[in-house]
């Protein structure tokens, strides 16, 4: 299956990004052809783009012909910052619902707390919830919240703990100077952090990133998105929406 995964993957993005990378790694292991679209230009993704608000459904629409399935992680700034105009929220979520219809399978992953300003409800969200094949939440609280959203049926909602976060937790704190076995403690942290990096790098390799070698700092800090012209995007989206509406 050709799968488009949308969300932040490492190096940036912390734990959530690593979890998404693990999801991708698992899919690749299962034989899927995966490409990643990330809102963060520093991500080791196949594509990066501005995915705020309406830009997200625009991109999804554009890429839909190349993929069978979509795995979208709703995260901070994807697609909304903490505040968004009600109308823009409604149009964006409605458009997302439309776009979901362009994929044969849609997995919606929701960070916790669910980063949708204004909550999960509203008529505009109905198609989005209805067309998601799987809705994955992080905990019971979010599970109950999503169940009350329009168009959601219980059997499609799952609570899934982070996928592959390996047994050994990363020790991020350094020991205090007075600890008796300070060297052992420091080395444990060093090895643990390095192992986490190694996993992230390995995920990058799995993702087909172009070589994991040292990313140059210039390339890494570049935030330039290469994108199709607004005109062509709008054109494509409108024609999709028209087709969708007329098929109803």
């Amino acid at each position: 299956m050709r799968v488009l995964v949308v969300g932040t993957v490492p190096p940036p993005g912390g734990k959530g990004a690593k979890e998404l990378a693990d999801v991708v790694a698992k899919r690749i292991e299962d034989g899927d052809e995966v490409e990643i679209l990330s809102p963060d230009p520093r991500s080791a993704a196949h594509h990066t783009a501005n995915l705020e608000s309406l830009m997200l459904p625009l991109r999804l629409a554009l890429l839909s012909s190349r993929f069978d399935a979509l795995e979208l992680r709703i995260e901070t700034r994807l697609p909304f910052a903490s505040e968004v105009h009600r109308a823009l929220r409604a149009v964006t979520l409605f458009s997302l619902g439309v776009c979901f219809g362009m994929y044969s399978e849609v997995t919606l992953r929701l960070d916790s707390p669910i980063p949708l300003p204004g909550g999960v409800g509203g008529r505009a969200t109905k198609d989005m919830w209805r067309r998601a094949t799987r809705i994955i939440v992080a905990n019971q609280e979010d599970y109950l919240r999503v169940l009350f959203a329009p168009g959601v049926t219980e059997e499609r909602v799952e609570i899934v703990q982070p996928v592959v976060v390996e047994a050994r937790p990363v020790e991020y704190s350094w020991p205090s100077p007075t600890e008796p076995d300070i060297r052992v403690r420091v080395l444990r942290s060093v090895r643990s952090r390095a192992e986490a990096e190694r996993r992230a790098n390995s995920a990058r390799v799995d993702l087909g990133a172009k070589g994991i070698g040292p990313l140059s700092s210039t390339a890494f800090s570049s935030a330039v998105h290469v994108a199709p012209s607004v005109r062509s995007v709008v054109h494509a989206l409108i024609s999709r929406i028209v087709r969708e509406v007329s098929s109803r």
Partner: protein, 402 residues
């Protein structure tokens, strides 16, 4: 134990004097000065070479006096056929099996000091002990043949292709005594030369406690405005310099590590483009300036796996500076573990995390360095090491008298 009995001792080392960089050479000269200061009659036989790359005669031949010892220099003679020398070197490096004749040709291919050998033939038996170091040079391989019954080799062994040549094994086995600088080197000695003399010991090596450190002055004199980590030693592949450049470069990428890499020593640093702004070569530092380099550094990195002791680690700890060592180096890791004061890294990512620790937890890093300092003071002062050497020399002298 003949500690109080003055002895006549000869030290034979391929290089000695100002501008010479090398652990074995440093231990030999300081041991010679130290034993002389304890009342022994010490002569040091060496070549006129300063550089271990060219072996060109830079110092004048002849006799001089330095810090209580007599220094006798002999000119080197270079290989007849550089082509053959290069070919043999390549074969040794690739661990090919060489015949004994080829091994001898290899030893002769670097440099020879026939006059030193002839001098030893004449006067070796006038000494109570002839101490030679390191193991892989003409001066030691040939010198050990002259008076094996009173020869002590301080091999400074590393687990490298040279060490496994049969002529090395023979040299170590035929010498009356062996001095090792660390326990892992001692164990390697047993593997390399199973038949080595029972008269061997781990004497260790020592570093001098500087009278003081001038960190601010050091930074100012060398225009160092940012925090830095230090590499001190020979800039060559065998010492892990190139690997360190690669690892340091990786550590910098995508990180906000605040450190420059400052290097002191000899050899062309050949810093690749891209990190040239972050790698600062101060070249060879005078003896009075070097301790301040260690003290001014946030950490000292020891990337070399070819160490039989690692003085720079000791100098760093002594200066209160933490040490980050390549985990593949048996001896340097041994020091880190034994002291509880050093970190070790297995790859670039771990080195990056070690550097991050130094940057983020300076107090904990200082606490580590303090353990290292205690370790040096407890084990590697000249007082202790010279006692060990005198014990060994006394034992050898007693055997000779029998």
């Amino acid at each position: 134990m003949a500690k109080s009995q003055a002895m006549r001792i000869a030290f034979v080392t391929p290089r000695y004097g100002a501008g010479v960089v090398g652990g074995s050479e440093a231990v030999m000269s300081e041991a010679a000065w130290g034993l002389a200061s304890r009342g022994h009659e010490v002569e040091l036989l060496t070549t006129c070479a300063r550089s271990h790359f060219s072996w060109e005669n830079e110092f004048p031949a002849g006799i001089s006096h330095d810090r209580g010892i007599v220094v006798r220099r002999f000119p080197t003679v270079s290989a007849k056929s550089r082509l053959l020398a290069g070919e043999l070197e390549r074969r040794v490096q690739s661990s090919e099996k060489l015949t004994e004749a080829e091994q001898i040709a290899w030893v002769n291919g670097r440099f020879r000091v026939p006059d030193l050998y002839l001098d030893l033939l004449k006067c070796a038996r006038s000494f109570d002990a002839v101490i030679l170091s390191p193991y892989l040079f003409w001066s030691t391989i040939y010198g050990a043949e002259v008076a094996p019954e009173r020869t002590i080799v301080m091999p400074c062994l590393h687990d490298e292709p040279y060490a496994w040549l049969s002529i090395v094994s023979k040299t170590l086995s035929s010498s009356a005594g062996l001095w090792f600088l660390s326990e892992p080197e001692h164990q390697l000695g047993h593997r390399v030369a199973p038949g080595m003399s029972a008269h061997h010991s781990v004497v260790g090596a020592a570093v001098n406690l500087p009278s003081g450190y001038d960190t601010a002055g050091f930074r100012e004199r060398h225009g160092l405005t940012r925090p830095f980590v230090l590499y001190a030693g020979r800039r060559e592949d065998g010492k892990g310099w190139r690997q360190l450049l690669g690892s340091f470069s990786s550590a910098l990428v995508g990180s906000d590590l605040p450190f420059d890499l400052v290097t002191v020593g000899v050899g062309a640093p050949n810093v690749p483009e891209g990190i040239q702004e972050r790698v600062i070569d101060l070249g060879f530092l005078d003896e009075w300036e070097l301790p301040s380099a260690f003290a001014a550094a946030e950490a000292m990195i020891q990337p070399s796996v070819n160490e039989s002791f690692s003085r720079t680690m000791m100098e760093s700890w002594l200066a209160g500076t933490p040490v980050i060592a390549n985990a593949a180096g048996e001896v340097i890791t041994w020091h880190c573990e034994r002291s509880g004061g050093g970190l070790s890294y297995n790859d670039d990512l771990e080195l990056a995390q070690c550097l991050r620790f130094i940057a983020e937890a300076p107090k904990a890093a200082s606490a580590l360095a303090e353990r290292g300092r205690e370790y040096v003071l407890a084990n590697y002062t000249w007082e202790i090491v010279l006692d060990n050497m005198e014990d060994s020399l006394g034992g050898l002298a007693a055997e000779l008298r029998r």
